[in-house]
């Protein structure tokens, strides 16, 4: 069955089972591989994307449910790593293996959009993504730095 998805501002007509998790449509049908699969049960956040600006775990959302809404993936944050969140993650050299980092950045971005000057407690509450390399120490600093960079831009 065909349905339309709007990803990073581009409309895609997708012919697939509409119950397929959004993650697999994004990766295998639309061909954007920055969004990662790790647990498949909504636990780790590696697959985090935005739907209408909200961070969601795309492995646990039926693709159909995202039809007609604005989906943003890591590829839509910037084409060249120039978004303040990306700049901050680079400045802190936060990624290790990097596998969780697309999801981590999408979560951080959703947090900063909702709370432009997050406290450590806000970070603790919002950033529930898992990182097996344990980059949390730098991710926390990077989120604070990103907040500073975004304030300077405003």
């Amino acid at each position: 069955m065909a349905f339309d998805l709007e990803v990073n501002g581009v409309r895609h007509s997708v012919d697939a089972d509409p119950q397929t998790p959004l993650l697999w449509i994004i990766r295998d049908r639309i061909g954007l591989s920055g969004t990662k699969f790790s647990c498949g049960i909504g636990s780790c956040g590696a697959c985090t994307v935005h739907i209408d600006g909200q961070a969601v775990r795309s492995c646990s959302v039926a693709a159909e449910a995202a039809a007609g809404r604005a989906i943003t993936t890591i590829e839509g944050v910037s084409s060249d790593g120039s978004h303040p969140v990306q700049l901050a993650f680079k400045e802190l050299d936060a990624p290790q293996c990097g596998y969780c980092q697309s999801g981590m950045i999408m979560t951080a971005l959703a947090l900063l959009n909702a709370i432009p000057e997050p406290t450590d407690a806000d970070i603790d509450a919002w950033v529930t993504n898992a990182c097996r390399c344990s980059t949390y120490y730098r991710v926390r600093q990077a989120i604070h730095l990103a907040a500073d960079l975004m304030r300077a831009e405003r």
Binding site: D28, S33, G34, C39, Y137, R138
Partner: protein, 779 residues
């Protein structure tokens, strides 16, 4: 039915690379310009467009320096540190360095240059030399030791990438630099000694002439060095790039999602495979009913997977299984979930559970075991003691649980095998491919990808062997096999479940007269003698250490920290218990007991303890419900050769309802003669603090009816940012030997540290990890 909605650039380039590599696609695309390569996110080897200087180095006319990396980037920073070791000697412009994976295929066809074969210098105590490789200098294959094939050691393990590769990576840079200088000297007809090289520019000071590496690289490529054995490497005192904090070169692509991990590989005509193997190790498929799913969307075929040949999995027994091949992975997985499968399970394996395994370990502790060290007369020491302290500890089975599930893409034709994979042992995977397909290793091509976590040879499991088997049954079709998270827990090896009984006899002043250490784990467990072998790190006039073995069916392997992580939990917790029994300060108690030994590097251990204690404000008051604990971490000191030594103080709070928070960690870590990239060392220490926090607090895999019970992140928990220590202070101190490495066995003291803080705050001593299974409430 499935229609691609668009081919993105990365996929297109992966197609191009595959076509170029495999010559089976029937079309040809021009090779990418080198400058385009990093942007597309794939970093596997490609035949160079400019002539190479040596097997590690290609310099393009625009001064881009490509450095081939033979180890695998899994977050530990090897992509950057290996490039730094080459660049230090090459004297090239670091901002123009572009790493790329070394070719495991060429490694099968070419031998290492003669000048890489001998380790220069005088071992671990020689700052001007190469140090000593962990795995011996020479070995005929990549499975053991360092082979003589082109890239020598291609494994990424044992935190040894710097230690085992540095002398020949520095030499590779130096050899290329000398040949670039020779080429310029020949061009200008001046003596080579009048030339100098810096930042990819060659200068002839007397005449003021300059040229760039890019301009003369094609000449250097055909200018042999007359006497390469005479080339030496820079000692740390002359380093200008090594020893400085460099941001990791792979990071920019990791914040944009561009990095091509193995899971992201997509090829024209590729099919996906999902796999189910028998959840009881050693089990196999009795029957499966493909007809029941044949008509489901996208489904192509099923392939039965035999129990992998133990000769390809270092003797470990995994399970047989079935793969379903479909157009997309989700279709393959959905169909596989609906396919009836019956298993044949060895009854003795299905009889294992955590309780009876624990009992077997306890029984083995009571038996005599294999005595490794027996100094003095331990029994006489016990008889003379004023006080006996005895404690039994346990640690569970633990997997690596890297974030990227096991996967590989394989294309087998009658002529060659192509494998796209993140792999910590490409030489071994090459061997497996050849064994399974019958195609010679010289015709096996590995296209290496960054790994989404490794933590110990990315699992030691049969991910490559399974993918190769499926592709071999579908020759001509690229097959991308991907495990579910649950399958990843079956396809990995575990750190062995372990127990230890430690017993000390103390004199009237609380100092040990006799110490006995009994370690129990299954007979194929790794590192049985870690932390206790050779000699006791803490002085006891009478010391006995023995291993006690059992036979379990769970395949065990080299998980991060290996046995040392468990053994340091036992050792450091017991020392804390002795200090408490003696009524002494655990920091000063350790200090004194190390001072009384004659173990090599004991002064460095004492410096580490002193520095960590001082950094932490040891002894200053803390709020109620907060405590400090100290621990020593050392590896290899007893050898008197290279070692790695650190100490940490953990400041831990516990709420009355039992919530633990690691508030602060103060770390004193030695540099040895030098750290290559101190920034990577910091990141690794930070990561390992959380790693061992998880081991201490949360993680365990239990066994029921022979199966691993916890097999996804809902039951096998990973801590999140809200549990991470808000303050980590790291200081380095200089020592006079080369380090073994620090990528896997630092921060083991988080385990004993939290345990002793729990004791200080709640009065309860827990000896079975993880602590979250216990009632930690107080007050």
């Amino acid at each position: 039915m499935t229609q691609r909605t668009g081919v993105d650039r990365r996929e297109f380039l992966a197609m191009a690379a595959a076509a170029k590599g495999a010559f089976v696609m029937g079309f040809w695309l021009p090779p990418r310009p080198a400058s385009a390569q990093q942007r597309d996110g794939a970093v596997w080897y490609e035949d160079p467009e400019a002539p190479e200087i040596n097997a590690w180095i290609v310099i393009d006319p625009d001064d881009t320096v490509t450095i081939r990396i033979a180890q695998t980037e899994l977050g530990q920073g090897v992509w950057t540190s290996n490039a730094m070791m080459v660049s230090e000697e090459l004297q090239c412009d670091w901002s123009r360095v572009r790493p790329e994976y070394a070719s495991a295929n060429r490694d099968a066809r070419e031998m290492a240059p003669e000048w890489t074969l001998e380790v220069m210098g005088d071992g671990a105590q020689d700052p001007t030399g190469g140090g000593e490789p962990s795995f011996g200098n020479r070995a005929p294959t990549g499975v053991f030791g360092i082979p003589d094939s082109l890239y020598r050691r291609m494994r990424t393990n044992a935190a040894a990438s710097v230690k085992d590769g540095r002398y020949y990576l520095q030499l590779a840079g130096a050899e290329a630099r000398e040949r670039l200088l020779l080429a310029a000297a020949n061009e200008w007809d001046v003596p080579v000694r009048e030339l100098s090289a810096r930042d990819s520019i060659v200068t002839h000071a007397p005449s003021g002439r300059t040229t760039t590496y890019g301009a003369i690289a094609h000449l250097a490529a055909v200018t042999p060095h007359p006497n390469p054995e005479a080339i030496t490497i820079k000692p740390p005192s002359e380093w200008t790039l090594m020893g400085t904090e460099q941001k990791n070169l792979d990071v920019p692509m990791k914040v944009t999602g561009e990095t091509v991990y193995a899971i992201d590989v997509s090829l024209p005509g590729m099919k996906w495979a999902a796999v189910k193997t028998c959840p009881v190790y050693g089990g196999d498929v009795a029957a499966y009913d493909f007809e029941a799913i044949r008509d489901l969307p996208g489904v192509q075929s099923a392939v039965q997977l035999p129990i992998p040949d133990p000769a390809l999995t270092r003797g470990r027994i995994f399970s047989g299984g079935v793969a379903v091949v479909a157009d997309t992975w989700y279709e393959a997985k959905t169909a596989l979930d609906r396919m009836p499968i019956n298993w044949t399970v060895p009854p003795e394996n299905a009889g294992f559970n955590t309780d009876n395994m624990r009992q077997a370990l306890l029984d083995s502790l009571d038996a005599r075991g294999t005595v490794r060290v027996d100094e003095g007369d331990v029994d006489a020491g016990f008889a003379a003691a004023a006080q006996i302290v005895e404690a039994t500890y346990s640690t569970p089975y633990l997997p690596r649980a890297r974030m990227e599930p096991g996967n590989a893409t394989v294309l087998v034709t009658d002529e060659r095998v192509d494998i796209w994979i993140g792999d910590q042992s490409p030489q071994e995977t090459r061997f497996s491919a050849s064994q399974i397909t019958g195609i010679p290793e010289q015709q096996v091509h590995l296209h290496m990808c960054h790994l989404g976590g490794g933590f110990g040879r990315n699992g030691n499991g049969p991910q490559a062997e399974q993918a190769i088997t499926i592709a071999n049954a579908n020759r001509g079709t690229p097959i991308h096999m991907l495990w579910t998270r649950e399958e990843d827990f079956i396809g990995t090896t575990y750190r062995a479940m372990g127990m230890a009984r430690l017993k000390a006899g103390l004199d009237e002043d609380g100092w040990p007269l006799a110490l006995e250490v009994r370690i129990a784990m299954q007979d194929d467990g790794f590192g049985p003698t870690a932390s206790f072998g050779g000699a006791s790190r803490y002085h006891a006039p009478h010391y006995r250490f023995s291993n006690h073995e059992t036979d379990f069916h769970v395949p065990v392997g080299t998980r991060r920290g290996v046995s040392q992580a468990a053994h340091e939990f036992y050792r450091e917790t017991f020392i804390d218990e002795l200090a408490r029994a003696a009524g002494r300060d655990p920091y000063l108690y350790r200090r004194e007991l190390i001072a009384r030994t004659d173990i090599p590097y004991k002064d460095d251990m004492i410096r580490a303890l002193d520095m960590a204690a001082e950094m932490s404000g040891w002894g200053t008051p803390l709020p109620a419900g907060t405590a400090r604990a100290i621990g020593l971490e050392e590896r290899g000191a007893e050898t008197g050769r290279s070692a790695t030594i650190s100490a940490m103080v953990h400041t831990v709070s516990i709420s009355p309802d039992g919530r633990v928070r690691l508030e602060r960690v103060d770390v004193a870590h030695e540099t040895g003669f030098g750290l290559v990239n101190p920034l990577s060392v910091r990141k690794q220490i930070e990561g390992q603090i959380t790693w061992f926090y998880n081991d201490a607090m949360h993680q365990a895999c239990t066994i029921a009816n022979g199966r691993i019970v916890e097999n996804n992140f809902d039951t096998f928990s990973l801590s999140r940012i809200d549990e991470d220590p808000p303050e980590i202070n790291i200081r380095f101190f200089e020592t006079d030997h080369w380090l073994i490495g620090m990528g896997h066995d630092r921060a083991t003291s988080v385990q004993s540290g939290i345990g002793d803080a729990i004791f200080q705050i709640t009065g309860k001593r827990f000896r079975d990890l993880p602590f979250s299974q216990h009632d930690l409430s107080w007050g």
